[in-house]
């Protein structure tokens, strides 16, 4: 009853496609860069500092405009209010208040009392406050984590393969992370600590895929000494194609389940994972040979 998703003995000429894939990936990288420069990222309070509240209003319709007006009248700076998953759930973000912790507390208190006045039954589901100093540290730590894990993985590749593979993997990796960050810029989705973790994992998986292809290239290089490099790369990529599709498939299945049923809090995180894992893995699979060819 076994089902074949990919026909046996595929023979797609990936290497010939290299101009298209390589061009496309360069284009996407440039687009991401452009977006990052022109639009930037929508940093969450993890990095900017500030207060975030998640509330649930039970048995009462919420008039967002009215609520916005009444919270703005508290004069606490740019307050953002958005629905969070359902009509009953709201995310309220306050900027960092000048004047230390006393002022933060006062700001939170005044929002609480304004909400309690408006709605009879408010459930304060989550409150997060991050001071500017911690925000700065988290940003640095996040950047360090990304840098070090990329370096760590590269060192491993270097160690296990030859340096040419390392360079190829490096390009793939930087490219992947870059485009995912670009996606966050494009959609304006919140970029926070969890996003950094998700991006790191995407880097890990993109590396994973690269390693599988490289492994096969290395093996085939030993096995078919007389084959032209053109043919050899095509053969290797085709041979590993069904595995990439299968693994991406199962991973995506699990992630979609998490996305649909895992709740609102981790949806952004899962979104990044899904995006990074699915489209790009397959796409990069197509590119990996091309990259290798250039080196």
């Amino acid at each position: 009853m076994a089902l074949k998703w990919i026909p046996d003995n595929t023979n797609i000429d990936f290497v010939r496609l290299r101009f298209i894939t390589f061009g496309l990936s360069t284009l996407l990288a440039l687009l991401s860069l452009g977006l990052l420069i022109s639009k930037g990222l929508n940093y969450g309070i993890d990095f900017t500092g500030g207060t975030l509240m998640e509330i649930k209003v039970v048995d009462q319709p919420i008039n967002l405009g009215e609520l916005r007006a009444s919270l703005n009248s508290l004069e606490l700076g740019a307050i953002s209010i958005q629905e969070f998953g359902s009509l009953e759930d709201l995310l309220i973000r306050l900027p960092e208040q000048a004047g230390g912790p006393e002022q933060q507390k006062a700001a939170i208190d005044s929002v609480h009392s304004a909400l309690d006045q408006k709605f009879s039954n408010v459930d304060y589901r989550r409150t997060e406050f991050v001071g500017p100093q911690v925000g700065k540290e988290l940003k640095e730590k996040g950047l360090m984590a990304v840098l070090f894990s990329i370096i760590g993985m590269l060192v491993y590749i270097w160690f296990r393969f030859e340096w040419q593979y390392g360079v190829g993997a490096c390009i793939a990796l930087i490219h992947d992370t870059f485009i995912t960050v670009g996606l966050f810029s494009m959609t304006g989705m919140e970029f926070n600590l969890s996003t950094v973790a998700a991006i790191l994992m995407i880097a890990g998986y993109s590396m994973n895929d690269t390693v599988v292809v490289f492994d096969r290239i290395r093996e085939n290089l030993r096995k078919f000494k007389k084959m032209s490099i053109y043919e050899l790369l095509n053969k290797s990529i085709n041979e590993t194609l069904s595995r990439t599709i299968m693994t991406s498939g199962t991973t995506i299945l699990a992630l979609v389940a998490l996305w649909l049923f895992g709740g609102e809090v981790i949806r952004g995180f899962v979104y990044a994972l899904i995006f990074g894992d699915w489209d790009w893995n397959i796409f990069f699979h197509f590119c990996s040979g091309a990259r290798f060819c250039y080196i």
């Binding site: 912790p101 589901r125 730590k141 984590a145 994992m201 991973t251 709740g263 981790i266």
Partner: protein, 511 residues
């Protein structure tokens, strides 16, 4: 050879059975767990604050103020000694981590050095013409900071205990930070208010004759804008209290009742006897709460602090005084509070997502690989069991991103099986017999599996070392997941496939 040594088979089965035992408590009711004999494992997964609800507070201890205070103390002890020795000075003031004296006569230099040494043995003294600078030594500052941190943590713990919060975790983080985790607390305002007050209580004599030296001017709590000059030197301090409680004054207004220890009672008795008719000030955190007149000697060691208090303030203040003063002010750097409803929802959502993800992957594997897919599925279930067994026995904290890590592992774990199965397929297409294809499939895929898992493991380890809070939880489950999945996908499927092959000896294999 498609062959597994007997002991290998036994140990694979043993690991799975052990995993099952260790993970079972998680699906038992609490009652059942209590009733079990004690030799059976009863540990369950330790849920993080984002799943069980609770509050996470990161506090910073203002160590600078301690250094400044110490410098002021040094100054206060230095001043009378200089006067006593009749050493003239142009200026005497505190600098960062120490004091500076500008002398009139250079000949007094040695005498001043001696006095400073007498007060603080380790002070580092530098002389420039007729100016002496004394700063605390590096080691002295370090010791002072460690001491302050230790005290702060102790006081924070006592205050939290006083407030009745259960199972708090309080630990030092870095040089000057304290991490407080309060499970089950969904409104930390009360705790934040308690921690936000230094509660340094001291009793001073009021400067009645306006001498001006050795005095300080502090605001009055009851009369905004008004100040009063009092002696800098505290006659008694809050650490001499043995008890504080809610009380009331003669007029029935709320007041804080206190009781001194033996030393404090004696001192207070003498002070009140020597200074009858004078005012003395009760100072809390640099604000004068009240300044009553001493009418008669008070030797009972008890008293009340009056002021314009509400009952709530009185009860807070007595809690604070009982727990003791913080050696330095605390600031809240970070707060993350999750209410119990959101935590429970997240756990529920995580469960549903994991089960649906698992079922989805199982079905996908089944329709793709048939019988081998079932084997991979069994291995996957074994993997999930092993993850929970590890989480429970290591008591690692499971957070919401941690659940995401598990779901991700469910999706990724079959990768090893996919690599093996695809390889077997290829080998069969290349004309190998069933047995040798399976054998080659396992052995050839191995290096790829190890390479790809190790790269992910590297990312997870780095994430763990740099991550904070929930992100750490994600990397923990990911690391555990990678290790258990390598075991289950390679060993468990191998066991299943090998025993099937030996049982049926098929001549053709369809995957």
């Amino acid at each position: 050879m498609v062959y597994l040594a007997r002991w290998t088979k036994i140990s694979i089965i043993a690991v799975c059975v052990l995993g099952l035992f260790l993970s079972l408590p998680n699906i038992m009711s609490e009652n059942l767990r209590m009733k079990m004999p004690s030799f059976l494992p009863s540990k369950t997964v330790n849920l993080g604050l984002d799943l069980r609800g609770g509050s996470h507070l990161l506090l910073q201890v203002d160590l600078k103020t301690v250094a400044t205070e110490r410098a002021e103390e040094l100054l206060d002890s230095l001043r009378p000694e200089l006067r006593e020795e009749k050493i003239g000075y142009r200026r005497l003031n505190d600098i960062e981590n120490g004091v500076r004296v500008e002398l009139r006569e250079e000949s007094d230099l040695d005498a001043v050095k001696k006095i400073i040494r007498g007060i603080n043995r380790d002070a580092e003294i530098t002389v420039k013409e007729s100016t002496v600078e004394a700063v605390f030594s590096e080691a002295g500052i370090q010791e002072m900071q460690d001491q302050t941190m230790g005290q702060s943590i102790e006081i924070v713990r006592r205050r939290i205990d006083e407030s009745g919060t259960k199972e708090p975790t309080i630990q030092r983080q870095g040089d000057d930070r304290i991490l407080v985790q309060l499970p089950g607390l969904d409104n930390p305002e009360e705790i934040k208010r308690l921690l936000g007050t230094t509660a340094k209580l001291s009793f001073h004599l009021v400067d009645m004759d306006g001498r001006g030296t050795g005095t300080m001017t502090l605001p009055l709590a009851d009369e905004p804008g008004q100040t009063l000059a009092i002696n800098r030197k505290a006659e008694l301090t809050g650490d001499m209290l043995v008890n504080a409680s809610v009380s009331q004054d003669q007029g029935g207004r709320p007041a804080v009742g206190f009781k001194f220890n033996g030393v404090g009672a004696k001192k207070f008795c003498k002070l009140s006897a020597d200074n009858q008719g004078k005012l003395f000030a009760i100072v809390l955190d640099k604000i004068i709460i009240s300044a009553p007149r001493i009418n008669e000697p008070i030797c009972g060691g008890q008293g009340i602090i009056t002021g314009t208090f509400t009952i709530k303030e009185v009860s807070d203040l007595s809690t604070l005084l009982r727990a003791g003063a913080l050696p330095a002010p605390l600031t809240i750097l970070e707060e993350r509070t999750v209410g119990p409803s959101l935590g429970a929802d997240s756990v529920e959502a995580g469960k549903i997502a994991s089960v649906i993800g698992l079922v989805g992957v199982l079905i996908f594997m089944l329709i793709t690989y048939g019988r081998f897919g079932i084997y991979a599925g069994i291995a996957l279930i074994a993997n999930v069991v092993l993850i929970f067994a590890s989480l429970s026995s290591f008591q690692a904290t499971l957070t919401l991103p941690g659940i995401a890590g598990i779901v991700l592992t469910i999706g990724m774990a079959v990768d090893a099986n996919v690599l093996i199965f695809e390889r077997i397929k290829e080998e069969i297409t290349n004309g190998r017999s069933v047995m040798s294809a399976v054998d080659a499939g396992f052995s050839r895929a191995m290096s790829t599996i190890i390479d790809s898992n190790l790269t992910t493991l590297i990312a997870a380890v780095i994430l763990y070392s740099f991550g904070t809070g929930p992100i750490k939880g994600f990397s923990v489950t990911l690391m555990i997941g990678i290790l258990t999945s390598m075991f289950s996908a390679i060993m468990v499927t191998r066991l299943l496939i090998v025993s099937w092959l030996h049982r049926t000896k098929p001549s053709i294999l369809k995957i």
